[in-house]
Subunit: 300 residues, 3 copies
């Protein structure tokens, strides 16, 4: 594994390997490359959670972090993404983590950049470490994906996670359903069937709520927040109707009382903050993979 | 001591303990938790001085620093402060340092957040590490607070420091006076009496100048900068009238030739930059306290 | 060597010493001060490349980095540059790296600041570490500067590098020529003669392209990008006309297809990314010099 760009590139074996390593890190195992390593985190969109998750993962691996956010960069001077990344490679970065608003920004990098690229989110496209941390959370809970019913609720069309999660969960043997307002349904996503929210909730093992991504829509939502919560949100009543043993997931940041009632965010069956914790272990595992492939290194 | 939120929460014993540890750090003592520790510094208002002071303190204790400034965060996506801090806790922060423009922002955090919170300034309210570094500076100079005359000059009403310093200095046995333009006097602050500046200066052991905080006023100051300097500033002439052995303090950043004549900033009896140096030791002491309480650790 | 402010201050011996140390670092040598060291990087203008180059250099020397960018600072509260730097000194910075849009900003710092100042670019004036990395790149290639023909092309008038490079190259024995549109010629720069680009290219050992610094001009360029490229850019055809053994240099960031054809950026005789790599070694050498002067330290 040289880069980590999309989930579809990963085989089942790749995924199982990453989940295995992540659980090792969750159990306190360490890994070192045996030399000073620099990783550049380039965020061309703000993201507290993903940024700090990578940063903690990197520091736990003893990596020196170079952090760049959009507004602080030569990008303003009209430099191409390729030249920015090529520069960081020249300066000594051993790998680069990139979040960028352009779909598949990485296509312009694959030729010419020789250090590993980890995709931390591209436009409405991919966010593979988010998908992997979701898989880790589900695996921790249920041990396996076979036959699990996963209900993805909300903005299917604009979510980075909906498509890639549905694809990989299907590949792993889960049964995926979607609930969404008609304007946010996505006919190009073949990895799930649309179902009424209240019907789906009663059967689902995993209720995966998506963020309303106000910042990605051209038009404003036609529903008010209250209407959305009433029709598509996990209200307290809907929380009570969930199947025994089922769990709540959300990629965050959360719009409280829109996608989910504020009181349910830290409910007993919510794994929302567990997902965030798992994000660190997944990113450690992914960094280990790409750096080990590029440079060697040992589990200690 | 779990959190450090306000000075009024601290007992005399707490304060003496922090000042003792700070002097140990000033003398070159080190302290380590014996494991990797992350502290997140969340600044929802800019502050070079306080930010770097905490950052140096953290690094001197071997702590990994996560730094967030207002404009770079998911806060823009409408996330609550609670959710941001809860996220950092999930990701692995062992403590959080927060500066926020809202008075007593920490009340929404106390329930639910289990890692220590260090208040680095809330609105017009509290700034306990600033008060503590002022106390350290006075203690280094005079050995004791009993009977010391402290004159606080300037924007009593809008200053984070005026109220909490006056309270704690009174508690420690000092005699506090204020000099301020009438519109910046604060009748709700019972810990000092108003006095004419030129009278107060001749008696004071400590002349504590406050910043004109342009950014916190709705209306502009009615006095021009020159008028302010003439009426309430420490002019060169007033500097000459100060009591033998007395010292000048200012929390900075300084408006030169407004609160204080530029030539007096580094005068022989100015402790302004000494205060900044002491800020690092105080923050080391406070970090040690809250982390030791939360996680253990040893002085080495 | 206490500060590094301008190239003209450096003797030939100083320069040779820095180039020697830089080559040691390029060969993998390490150097440590033997105690915890803080360096503050203050960037009052954005610069990905210079910022990260210093940051990597610092981390490779085991230095703790304090990073400040313009918009995040108390500078907004009206603090002078002197007070900001004096504060960082008080807080514990052992040296400071500064980029500032004001020409010779450092003149207000020399009195009063006792820690070393490394100039990372002042206005249209100096950028000594850029000049030094250019010298290292030329020295690596040709072994010596004596009699080398260096052609500097582009915005001679507004470039930080043109003047100081021309001066030092002349001092080291090279023969410098300039090619520039008439409005960007600089009669105050006596260290080169103007020559037609196509004539100069055939003789030059080093073709040093300058950036079009849109952000430093009051008026817009009178030539379009296409016209500039046609008249003053290194087109593919001009690249073919370069002398055998000659090299292409550019300080970056690059405006592709303006100063240089995109296809030539990574041409076999381009040293553009090599320059960036060398920047790290030069900055390590400069940091070693000033810190060693100020504090001691050993090559390990």
């Amino acid at each position: 594994m040289n880069h980590l760009l999309t989930m579809t590139e990963l085989t089942i074996e790749d995924i199982e390997g990453i989940l295995y390593d992540a659980r090792q890190f969750a159990d306190g195992k360490a890994w070192r490359l045996g030399k000073q390593v620099f990783v550049a985190n380039l965020f061309f969109e703000p993201s507290t959670r993903t940024r700090f998750s990578f940063e903690v993962a990197e520091r736990k691996l003893g990596i020196d972090v170079l952090h760049l956010e959009e507004t602080n960069s030569s990008v303003q001077k009209g430099e191409s993404l390729y030249d920015t990344v090529r520069t960081l490679q020249a300066i000594g970065a051993n790998a680069v983590v990139i979040r960028h608003p352009r779909d598949e920004y990485f296509n312009e990098l694959k030729n010419g950049i020789s250090i590993p690229i980890i995709n931390a989110g591209d436009g409405c496209g991919n966010h593979p470490t988010q998908s992997l941390l979701d898989l880790l959370t589900i695996k921790q809970e249920f041990g396996s994906f076979k036959g699990l019913r996963v209900l993805i609720v909300g903005d299917i069309r604009h979510s980075r996670v909906a498509r890639s999660n549905a694809e990989v969960l299907t590949r792993l043997g889960a049964i995926v359903s979607f609930s969404a307002p008609s304007e946010w349904q996505d006919e190009t996503n073949p990895y799930g069937t649309y179902i009424d929210l209240d019907v789906g909730l009663k059967e689902a093992d995993v209720v995966m709520l998506l963020r309303i991504q106000h910042e990605r829509h051209d038009s404003s939502m036609t529903l008010s927040k209250e209407e959305y919560h009433h029709k598509y949100g996990l209200t307290i009543q809907r929380g009570n109707n969930m199947k025994t043993g089922s769990i709540i997931m959300h990629p965050a940041p959360i719009n409280r009382d829109v996608e989910i009632a504020g009181e349910l965010v830290e409910a007993k069956n919510s794994r929302i903050f567990k997902q965030m914790e798992n994000g660190v272990y997944i990113r450690m595992a992914v960094l280990k993979r790409v750096l080990q492939y590029a440079e060697g290194g040992v589990l200690v």
